[in-house]
C-alpha cells in the first residue's frame, strides 16, 4: 500500500511530544518456577502507534505480550489498558498468533467472525463484518475456503482479519510474519504501515528481526535477557513519512539497524 501523505508528516515527528499512552506495564515480574522471565519491567505504549518488542531469544518479549493479553498472569506488577487494570483477556485487546491459530474445521469467514461469534453477535451481522475485513486484507473470494487450502501468508491474513474484526483498541502481534516466506513478509510489512495509519489502533509487535522492527515501528523497545530489562527505546524520526519504497535505503534506517545490532550482538551466541 503506497503512502500518499509522504511530505506532510515527514519532519514534525522529531519533536518529542508527550504521547497519549494506551497501554502501560508497571514493574512487571514473571517467574516460571525458578526461572526468571521478566524482572521489574516497565514500559509505555503510545496510543495509535506501533511499538516493537525486540530482543534476542529468551529475553521475555513473548511473555510480556502474553501478560498484556491477559493470557499469563504476572508474578508481580500490573498492566493498564486505557487506564483499566488488566485482569484477564478482554475485548479491548486482540491477538495475532505466530502460528495463525485458525480453526482448521472452519471456513475463512467463520474463522474471521469467530471473535464476534464468541461475543454472541448474530450470524448475519458478524458475517457482514467478517466479509468486509476479508476484503480489506485481500482475501475476497476465499470466504468459503478452509485454512488447509491456503498458503501460510494467506492464513496469517485470516488471523489478522479475525483480530481486526473484533475492533479492539490494541492489537497484540506475536512474531506474526515469522512463519511466512520472505517476499510475503515484505508485503505484510508494507501493508502493516498502511494499517497503522488508517486503523488508529495501538499495535504491540513482537519480532526477532531488527530490520522488521525498525521498518514497521514508531517506537522500538530493545529487551535484553538475564536479567530481563528494557535497555533502550528508539524512536525513528525522519524516514517514517517518506513512503514505503524509500525506507530501506534511508540513512537513518540503516544507522538504527546497525546501532541495534551492535548492542545485541554480544547476546547472540
Amino acid at each position: 500500500m503506497p503512502q500518499t501523505s509522504a511530505a506532510e508528516t515527514g519532519t514534525d515527528a522529531t519533536e518529542d511530544t508527550a504521547f497519549e499512552i494506551a497501554v502501560s506495564t508497571r514493574n512487571i515480574s514473571k517467574n516460571f518456577g525458578d526461572v526468571e522471565a521478566l524482572n521489574d519491567l516497565s514500559l509505555e505504549f503510545p496510543l495509535g502507534q506501533l511499538t516493537s518488542l525486540l530482543g534476542p531469544s529468551g529475553c521475555g518479549k513473548t511473555t510480556l505480550l502474553k501478560i498484556i493479553a491477559g493470557l499469563l498472569e504476572p508474578t508481580s506488577g500490573e498492566v493498564e489498558v486505557n487506564g483499566q487494570k488488566v485482569t484477564g483477556p478482554g475485548p479491548d485487546r486482540a491477538f495475532v498468533f505466530q502460528d495463525f491459530a485458525l480453526l482448521p474445521w472452519a471456513s475463512v469467514i467463520r474463522n474471521v467472525a469467530f471473535g464476534l461469534e464468541l461475543r454472541g453477535v448474530a450470524r448475519s451481522e458478524r458475517e457482514a463484518v467478517a466479509e468486509s475485513y476479508i476484503k480489506q486484507v485481500g482475501l475476497a473470494g476465499f470466504e468459503n475456503a478452509y485454512p488447509h487450502e491456503l498458503s501460510g501468508g494467506m492464513r496469517q491474513r485470516v488471523g489478522l482479519a479475525r483480530a481486526l474484526a473484533v475492533d479492539a483498541e490494541v492489537l497484540l502481534m506475536d512474531e506474526p510474519f515469522s512463519a511466512v516466506d520472505e517476499q510475503t513478509r515484505r508485503k505484510f510489512q508494507e501493508d502493516l504501515l498502511g494499517l497503522v495509519q488508517d486503523q488508529k489502533k495501538t499495535f504491540i509487535f513482537v519480532t526477532h528481526s531488527i530490520e522488521e522492527a525498525v521498518y514497521v515501528s514508531d517506537q522500538v523497545a530493545i529487551l535484553l535477557p538475564r536479567p530481563s530489562r528494557v535497555s533502550e527505546i528508539i524512536r525513528p524520526s525522519s524516514f517514517r513519512g517518506k513512503g514505503v519504497d524509500n525506507i530501506r535505503r534511508d540513512p537513518e534506517y540503516l544507522d538504527i539497524v546497525d546501532e541495534i545490532w551492535t548492542s545485541l550482538r554480544r547476546y547472540v551466541e
Binding site: K66, A69, G70, L71, P89, G90, P91, R93, A94, F95, F97, Q98, D99, A101, L103, P104, W105, F114, G115, E117, L118, R119, Y146, P147, H148, R162, V166
Partner: protein, 250 residues
C-alpha cells in the same frame, strides 16, 4: 487389483473364500460346515422368524443403550482428563487397567451386582466400549495446539464455548477413532453378556442352534452379526475420513 487385464472390484477375494466354503461344505467333510448356499438359504428363512426378530430387537436395544452410555460418559470423562491434571492422575491407571483387563472374567461379578437381566448386559456392553473411548478423547485433547486454546481465551470464550467450539472439534478425529474401536468391542460385549448372563437375544439363538446341531442356522446368525458389526465400523470409518483432513493441521 487387476487380474488378466481386468480391474477387480473391491472385496472380490470374498468370492474366492465363498467358493472354498461351498466346496468344503458340499464335500461333506464335516457336519460343522454346511455349504454356503444352504447357510444363505437358511439365513433368509431365519430372518423372517419371530425368534430372530425378537433376538435382533433385544440385542439392538442392549447394544444401543450400552454404546450410547459409553459415549456419553466416555467422551466428557476423556476430555476432562485431558484438561485436568488431578483427574488424569486419579483415573488414568484405572482406565489403562480396564482397557487391557479380560472383562469377560468380570461378567459373573456383574451378574451378582446387577441381576440376570437386561441391565447387566447393557453394563457389560458399556464396560467393553468405554475405556478406549475415554483414552482416545483424552489423547485428542492432549494434542490440541496450545495457541488454539490461547486464541479461544484471548477472544473471550466462556468455558462452555471453549468446550463445544474448540476442544470437542479439535479432538474429534481421535474421538471418532475411539468410538469406532469402542463399538467393535461393544459387539463382543453384548454377545458375551447375552451368552453368559441371561440366555436372551442372539445369545439364546446361539445356544439353541449349537445345542441342536443346527449349524446352518448357527452360521446364518453369525454372518448377520458379522455383517452388522462390519457395516457400523465402516460407517464410522467413513465419518472419520471426513474429519481427518484437518487432523494433521491442528
Amino acid at each position: 487389483m487387476t487380474l488378466l487385464g481386468y480391474r477387480l472390484p473391491g472385496m472380490s477375494s470374498l468370492i474366492v473364500w465363498g467358493l472354498l466354503w461351498e466346496i468344503i461344505g458340499q464335500s461333506g467333510l464335516t457336519f460343522f460346515v454346511p455349504p454356503l448356499s444352504e447357510v444363505v438359504a437358511t439365513l433368509f428363512s431365519v430372518i423372517g422368524t419371530d425368534a430372530f426378530q425378537k433376538a435382533l430387537a433385544e440385542t439392538a436395544y442392549a447394544f444401543c443403550v450400552g454404546v450410547l452410555s459409553a459415549i456419553c460418559i466416555g467422551i466428557p470423562t476423556g476430555i476432562l482428563m485431558g484438561k485436568n491434571r488431578l483427574l488424569d492422575e486419579l483415573l488414568l491407571p484405572w482406565v489403562n487397567v480396564f482397557l487391557s483387563a479380560p472383562l469377560t472374567a468380570l461378567v459373573p461379578v456383574l451378574m451378582v451386582l446387577f441381576g440376570f437381566g437386561m441391565r447387566a448386559i447393557i453394563i457389560t456392553t458399556t464396560l467393553f466400549a468405554i475405556w478406549i473411548i475415554i483414552l482416545n478423547a483424552r489423547a485428542g485433547v492432549k494434542q490440541i495446539n496450545r495457541s488454539l486454546v490461547d486464541m479461544a481465551r484471548s477472544f473471550g470464550a466462556s468455558p462452555l464455548d471453549a468446550f463445544f467450539k474448540v476442544y470437542l472439534w479439535a479432538a474429534l478425529p481421535e474421538i471418532l477413532g475411539g468410538i469406532r474401536i469402542g463399538i467393535i468391542r461393544a459387539v463382543k460385549g453384548v454377545i458375551i453378556g447375552q451368552l453368559l448372563i441371561s440366555i436372551v437375544g442372539f445369545g439364546a439363538l446361539f445356544e439353541l442352534y449349537a445345542a441342536n446341531f443346527l449349524m446352518g442356522h448357527f452360521w446364518a446368525v453369525l454372518i448377520v452379526l458379522f455383517a452388522l458389526a462390519f457395516t457400523i465400523s465402516e460407517i464410522l470409518a467413513y465419518l472419520e475420513r471426513r474429519v481427518s483432513y484437518y487432523a494433521a493441521k491442528r
